[in-house]
């Protein structure tokens, strides 16, 4: 396929291009209770070509690009036609010129994950066993689950000398825990690991079984009003994604964000804790072939680096970093128990929770929350949180306990002051 694509590029006299091959094998198991519903296998070899079309207009150097999928089974003539049409379309999508990533020689990085040492079938079997290891109660149990074990081999080749490749392994899935009494309720949970992390999955299931038992006992919404809201686990990442998005070259270039190097992202008068955020990629190259390095995004509340893709970073005059998939945040100063002091609403499960980086608002409907009120604890469900991070960001407090997932490593919990909550 690679030779056929390169021949087509030559036939069409296209000098600037990027070719990506993704070979993916995935094995999948679907369960209802502790019963296998179905197995699936995915075996793919996919090719994508980006072509660059250069032009000069009014003495300005321009570059357009377009991508096209090259499907298995295409004839040489079909490949040539697809690439030729993409090149023509790219000529109508001209933007200010930018450089491609340059490279020298072949670089291939082998995966060191524990998943690389076994077959996908074996890994799936072991993770399935871990998934159900703590599922031993008739009252609170795993209602259903999906498990995916994937291996990807990615090769990236461009006309500027990049020729790199890497392996990537992943275990991911989701499960729903259900509790029958006193009220029949459920909670959803997803998971994702780079390693054969049987222990983390077992712990996660155990914690969620405990949470759904509490959810079954929660029977009323909180009283409407303003609360100090404590968020934990993935909700912390979701709120902090405001800062990574606002520091993205795409947001800055389009003026959706006013961030620049040195911006005090939480404002000038921070009464709470100052943010320290790094970005990390779990794969060694981004889609354009940029070699990924950790990015020190925010230090002590101050923006130190803008991140983003090839084109817009060049327009802004900053070094392209590539796209990251993990946020690493420094520990906070307070223990979780200290953060629960006073009148605090700890929301541990939303039906959905979203941070809008445009408006700075975060919102979600409460599935389960613990209302701490100077020593007493009440379980609540229903109502919603609808707050503004722009208003709350100068008084943030973080826990010194940590939480890790494929996309986040940082404080387990964060406290936001005086947040509007709808309820009874």
């Amino acid at each position: 396929m690679r030779d056929a694509i390169i021949q087509s590029l030559k036939d069409e006299k296209i000098d600037n291009y990027l070719i990506t091959e993704t070979k993916k094998t995935s094995v999948e198991m679907f369960f209802i209770r502790q019963t296998l519903d179905m197995t699936r296998t995915e075996e793919l070899d996919e090719w994508n070509v980006i072509v660059y079309h250069d032009a000069v207009k009014d003495d300005r150097k321009l570059r357009g690009c377009a991508d096209c999928s090259i499907h298995q089974g295409m004839t040489q003539e079909e490949i040539r036609k697809a690439i030729g049409e993409a090149y023509m379309a790219a000529g109508y999508a001209l933007n200010p010129y930018y450089d491609m990533v340059k490279g020298e020689g072949r670089e291939s990085i082998e995966c060191t994950s524990s998943l690389a040492g076994m077959t996908l079938d074996e890994a799936a079997g072991r993770m399935a066993k871990a998934l159900f290891a703590k599922d031993d109660s008739e009252e609170c149990f795993i209602n259903s689950a999906e498990l995916f074990v994937e291996k990807k081999k990615v090769n990236i080749l461009n006309s500027a000398g990049v020729d790199c490749g890497y392996d990537d392994y992943l275990v991911k899935g989701e499960f729903v825990v259900q509790c029958l009494e006193p009220e029949d309720v459920e909670l959803y949970q997803s998971f994702s690991y780079d390693e054969l992390d049987e222990n983390s999955l077992m712990t996660l299931v155990e914690n969620k079984l405990r949470a759904v038992a509490d959810r079954a006992r929660a029977d009323k919404a909180p009283a409407a009003g303003n609360y100090d809201v404590l968020l934990s686990e993935d909700s912390v990442r979701e709120v902090l994604s405001f800062y990574t998005q606002r520091a993205d070259a795409a947001y800055i270039y389009q003026k959706y964000s006013t961030y620049g190097i040195g911006t005090k992202v939480q404002g000038d008068n921070v009464e709470g804790e100052k943010l320290n955020i790094k970005l990390h990629s779990s794969v060694p190259y981004d889609d354009m072939g940029i070699s990924m390095r950790d990015c020190g995004l925010i230090r002590d509340g101050e923006l130190r680096q803008i991140h983003g893709g090839l084109r817009l970073c060049q327009y802004l005059g900053v070094e392209p970093t590539g796209y990251y998939n993990k946020m690493i945040v420094n520990n906070g100063s307070r223990s979780l128990e200290e953060l629960k002091k006073g009148r605090v609403l700890h929301v541990v499960s939303f039906s959905d929770f979203n941070m809008d980086a445009f408006s700075g608002h975060f919102a979600g409907e409460i599935r389960l929350a613990y209302l701490y009120n100077n020593g007493s604890v009440t379980l609540v469900t229903g109502g919603s949180v609808n707050g503004s991070l722009i208003d709350a960001q100068d008084k943030l407090t973080f826990s010194n306990e940590r939480y890790d997932s494929r996309s986040y490593s940082g404080p387990y919990a964060m406290l936001l002051k005086d947040i509007p909550v709808s309820g009874e």
């Binding site: 079997g125 159900f132 445009f358 700075g360």
Partner: protein, 479 residues
């Protein structure tokens, strides 16, 4: 209006059909039931925004490949692939070896679900949808020129508009479904377009969006133009919006907000794969009032001509128009093939896959409330203290407990039967689904469907859907 044309068949699928039949035949030597779904899908996306112009294939929608479903001794398995070998015999052997090896990898303490074989009544046809102007006819240059003009119009309408981005996508797909007794081909094209508008006030960026979609071609682009004036005015007005005072209010939902309630709050709850897992409260309410007698709800690929219309689903079941709620009474859910086997019911043509690479689940298609008889102005006049909800942004299902979580961009205040001009934003809708649906007291006489977005099953498995209906008046908890 241009003359209607029909979407062409895939020359690729026509060429490999004999090999696929050979593969199917070899699988049927081993399995009691086998089917092959072959997909050849072309999809492109064009965008014009402050960061520049973009054009290219539209990600997941652009694909060519196959999924095989096999059944033996009560158990189903699937194998997705995109490379058809010259030696079909060895490929069939490899599929069988892989499928059987994975079954053996399942831990021994896990039981196996035993189901009956899929009913395979003979059906054979070839059908295509229609369009007026194909993307090829307008071409990349013509499409980008139109998008550029739409953006320019928005940007020039008010100097406070920070940005307006416009995109158009289309998918033209051909699917071939083969089993022992079925040989069906469908060729479908839909197009959608979307325009967002942004304005800044301090650190906060307020945004609004419009969209249009059709079962057809790029003729849909003309619909965006007529919405620009209202969108610009509203985006600017949002700069002075106020935070919502939490509480329960009389509300009028515009058709896209009605659509979000139909889809997110109720539609997901009648997906019968949730019945099979005992995850949906609706299962216990079939035959009972779940909504006001004014409410009639449909779902189906054959229920409307929109982006989720097709002739057969991804398990080879013919498309239907399912009446889900009739005069407020829940009549039935919607179902994919596997859920119907588990529940011993009839599938409703709702087996849908994100692509040939993924499992089929029960998924909505075109989902909507029927129109009523009320006039919108009478509905507004009937409210002494409430809101008109506009610009649905996101929602999440809760089939188990019928909790509502929907977000809308804005609420327009209504006092003493009149819109006051005050705007509140953003808005979270919460509450209990039947409470909301039973509180519907007025239903307008119009019905609009929009298919600008995708629907996920939880947080994945995105498929194209449309939803909508009339304006409804209901009592809703806002936060």
């Amino acid at each position: 209006m241009s003359e209607k044309k029909t979407v062409d068949s895939s020359a690729y699928l026509a060429g490999i059909k004999p090999q696929l039949k050979d593969l199917l035949g070899q699988l049927l030597n081993k399995y009691e039931y086998a089917s092959v779904l072959a997909v050849d899908s072309e999809a492109k996306q064009y965008g014009v925004r402050a960061s520049g112009i973009s054009v290219g294939d539209a990600g997941l929608l652009c694909s060519r490949g196959f999924v095989v479903k096999v059944y033996n001794e009560g158990e189903y398995a699937e194998y997705s692939f995109n490379k058809l070998n010259e030696n079909i015999t060895s490929q069939a052997e490899e599929i069988i070896r892989t499928v059987e090896a994975l079954k053996k990898a399942v831990p021994e303490n896990i039981a196996r679900l035993k189901l009956t074989a899929i009913s395979d009544e003979p059906v054979s046809f070839k059908k295509s949808t229609e369009y007026e102007i194909s993307p090829e006819q307008l071409g990349a240059e013509g499409i980008i020129d139109k998008l550029t003009a739409l953006r320019k119009r928005a940007m020039e309408a008010d100097e406070r508009i920070l940005d307006s981005s416009v995109r158009m996508s289309y998918q033209k797909y051909s699917k071939l479904f083969l089993s022992k007794n079925r040989d069906m081909e469908q060729n479908v094209m839909w197009t959608d377009c979307f325009q967002s508008f942004a304005a800044r006030k301090g650190e906060e960026v307020k945004s609004y969006f419009t969209s249009a979609s059709n079962l057809g071609g790029v003729e849909v682009l003309d619909k965006l133009d007529e919405k620009i004036g209202h969108a610009v005015e509203t985006t600017v007005a949002l700069l002075d919006s106020e935070p919502m005072v939490p509480g329960e209010y009389d509300c009028i939902c515009t058709p896209e907000v009605t659509g979000m309630i139909v889809h997110e709050a109720f539609g997901h709850g009648v997906e019968m794969d949730m019945f099979a897992k005992k995850r949906a409260l609706a299962e216990k309410y079939v035959g009972e009032y779940v909504a006001s007698p004014l409410v009639n709800m449909h779902d189906g690929a054959a229920a409307a001509d929109e982006v989720a219309s097709y002739f057969f689903d991804d398990d080879g079941v013919l498309a239907k128009d399912t009446v889900v709620i009739e005069n407020g009474i829940l009549k039935q859910g919607i179902s994919d093939t596997m859920a119907a086997l588990r529940l011993n019911t009839e599938p409703t043509g709702n087996s849908r896959r994100e692509s040939y690479k993924r499992k089929a689940y029960t998924r909505m298609t075109n989902t909507f409330f029927e129109p009523g008889k009320d006039k919108l102005e009478d509905m507004i006049a009937s409210i002494s203290d409430g809101f008109m909800l506009e610009n649905a942004t996101s929602g999440m299902e809760d089939p188990k407990n019928w909790g509502i979580q929907c977000m809308v961009n804005m609420a327009r205040e209504i006092k003493n039967g009149k819109l006051t001009g005050r705007i509140f934003s953003p808005i979270v809708l919460t509450g209990y689904v039947p409470d909301l649906l039973k509180s519907i007291s007025m239903v307008s006489d119009g019905c609009e469907l929009s298919g600008g977005g995708f629907c996920g099953k939880g947080y994945k498995e995105f498929v194209k859907v449309s939803d909508g209906g009339p304006c409804i008046k209901a009592r809703i908890r806002l936060g």
